[in-house]
Symmetry: C2
Subunit: 317 residues, 2 copies
Amino acid sequence: MTFGTIATWRMAHDSVVEATKLLESGTNASDALEVAIKQVEDYPFYKSVGYGGLPNAKGILEMDAAFMNGDTFQIGAVAGIVDIKNPISVAKKLSEEKFNSFLVGEGATQYAKDEGFEVKEMLTERAKKIWEKRIEDMKSKQLNPYDGHDTVGVVTLDQMGSMSVGTSSSGLFMKKTGRVGDSPLSGSGFYVDSTIGGAAATGLGEDLMKGILSYEIVRKMSEGLSPQEACDQTVYPFHDLLTKRYGKAGAFSLIAMNKKGEWGVATNVEFTFSVANDTTKPTIFMANRGENQTTSITPITKEWLDAYEKRIKAPIE
Amino acid sequence: MTFGTIATWRMAHDSVVEATKLLESGTNASDALEVAIKQVEDYPFYKSVGYGGLPNAKGILEMDAAFMNGDTFQIGAVAGIVDIKNPISVAKKLSEEKFNSFLVGEGATQYAKDEGFEVKEMLTERAKKIWEKRIEDMKSKQLNPYDGHDTVGVVTLDQMGSMSVGTSSSGLFMKKTGRVGDSPLSGSGFYVDSTIGGAAATGLGEDLMKGILSYEIVRKMSEGLSPQEACDQTVYPFHDLLTKRYGKAGAFSLIAMNKKGEWGVATNVEFTFSVANDTTKPTIFMANRGENQTTSITPITKEWLDAYEKRIKAPIE
């Protein structure tokens, strides 16, 4: 039977490996997705998701996450949640609620505590150092404070034909308190329908929510486009439209998988992702915008991977 | 030249009258929209928006609002903002920001204060009484706490051909702290593109965000459907799909206007709205789901209006 997983960024590769094992052995899409995203949230060297994520302008690590079930359209989401170990698990639990399924700020944190989710100090010493250094650099070098907004987004398809999508992010580094990006917003950050396919986004949330790209990719797949065609024909026209109408398009990258386990991506910046299905083992690829509204996709090189490994663990000076 | 306004619920009628005057005299769509929504926020007898709105389970009035500019796709939004007189004005201001344009909880309230927006105790004695009575009723009658989620949503078209959309809501009565509905979520609660048209939603936000209906209506109008066709062909199929896949569809109602000032609505519950354009003066209509995926729309009766007036001002016992 068919199954598959696609996930944003190299950071999610180990999760794709894990999800693939689970899906292969019959685990359902929702549970495999939760395991996959938790793994990224737990890893201290990924500075844009969960533990080790970078804090907001006040030094507080506020996290966003969402979960959607492609069978039932159930959605759960949190934004601005603080010191909870696995925001994705809170989002998944909230998706079971008919009311109050999207909670923000203190309400989200309190809900998680009341429901017994693990509390953890999520701001690492390393993240704090990076934050302090950035504050200094901003003063001395007049830097734009905002960069780094690498959401983990995952789409899973299980052998029963069910699909799920989830996202988790610490959001824009140096964001204002309470800032929400696209990650917890359905249609923008994620969308899935098990009878069609699913999609998820990473990038500048403020611009992604102008385009509703995850929904649009799924909709285009419903008309018979392949995931790659749907990504190309959604992302590049929107990039160009936004550039024309708004003046500038922020960075964004989209991933998609359909109910057959076929996949696609499109991006306006250099973008890594990991994907696997029943015929292809987990593989990291590099994507860039190609010519004529297409995407150039190449296997990742060992050099890139080595440099990445070194970069994420480099001492903060 | 063409201009127009459509808005959800009878409560927005006086705002449609006011917006029509402004648009007629050349005011732009964004400013007319802000005036229209502020008027609803300010009126104490509308218990689902702004001043006089009903509080959450803890007795705190948390408000959501959003603004979108159909020329530039700029979006600003707030959720869970407290004791700020006009959330729509905060959302409109945030739409000018490239980063941090969607703020929630304390971050949203603090931003509004820092930017000099008027602070006001928004919980009225009347709303507090209704809340207290509800708490009692829930104890004695085992009532479902959740009802009442009438968002004001407005679409405006000005003589220069620009369009805007905005929403404002105190959300679900008795919601959990930090609960966010569809009102501040682009695609679900609102969407607009001046070259096509705009749409906005009211209803159970938890279900609206499963469907991305505002975006879908605008998209269908881009394919040449009239606003009424776009509403009918989006809302009823989604109602049926959600009933099949999720088991139940909550109440929802959508409004739309295209760049020619033509309008449409669709709803799965009894729904009033007000609309005007350059050829038709502001009029309140009543809509219901009709046969064969259509909407039945009739002018409001004097009896209904009289009963409404009496109901919203009835003493709370």
